[in-house]
């Protein structure tokens, strides 16, 4: 049986996750801006960081969408509108999950 965790700890973690959700909106916007500016290197770094942090904060779908962009950039492939739309949708879903309107 898993160990019961302190409810205070869970409340604090929920607050951290909600704060992260708000910050992730900015991270998504930064990646899209970098892609539009043709800054592949900056976009790859941003996508790598977002992929790692989103997964760690418990938002695997955002992590996956960011990783798809990172993988395309690492392979030198074009980042299509579909991948960008997926990233935006995933970011919006993160915000909605904490009761925020994108």
């Amino acid at each position: 049986m898993p160990e019961a965790r302190d409810p205070t700890l869970d409340a604090l973690l929920a607050a951290e996750r909600a704060e992260y959700a708000k910050r992730s909106e900015l991270r998504v916007a930064e990646i899209v801006t970098l892609l539009r500016a043709g800054d592949s290197s900056g976009a790859r770094r941003g996508a790598h960081k977002l992929s790692g942090s989103a997964g760690t904060y418990g938002y695997p779908w955002l992590s996956k969408a960011a990783r798809a962009i990172e993988t395309a950039l690492v392979r030198g492939e074009p980042v299509g509108q579909g991948l960008i739309d997926d990233l935006r949708s995933a970011g919006a879903a993160v915000l909605q999950s904490v009761g925020e309107t994108p």
Binding site: E3, L9, L12, L13, E16, Y20, R23, R45, H48, K49, S51, G52, S53, G55, T56, Y57, G58, P60, S63, V74, R75
Partner: protein
Amino acid sequence: MTPATVLVVDDDEDIRRLISFALERVGHFRVRLAADAQQALALVQEERPDVVLLDVSMPVADGPQTLSLMRAIPSMRDVPIAFLTAGVEISESDSPNAHRSVAALLRAGACDVIAKPFVFEELCERVRRLVPPTVVR
């Protein structure tokens, strides 16, 4: 008694926040944070940590380079250093990160390689195992 001190080096502020939360609140460790190699090297010369967690992908000096720089400091020769990486799964031969396999990171001198995302309790337990027996875990 003073709890073990863990130095976390990661350029991502979001990750630093969450690791700090996990190690302090769940693991009851004392945590110091650095955003890059330069900050980390300044901190270890100020105070020797009991364990270091180093992100692999960092600008300027990456994890393996930072590890080498730390090992060159006499007081840091025996301090357990583990890598944190979200890139373990990047093992495709055409990836520029392919050299960063777990085996390569261990060969670089790491005591452990911890994948992101992580489970709080697992992260704390792995850090606890790295803390030398003479220090409060």
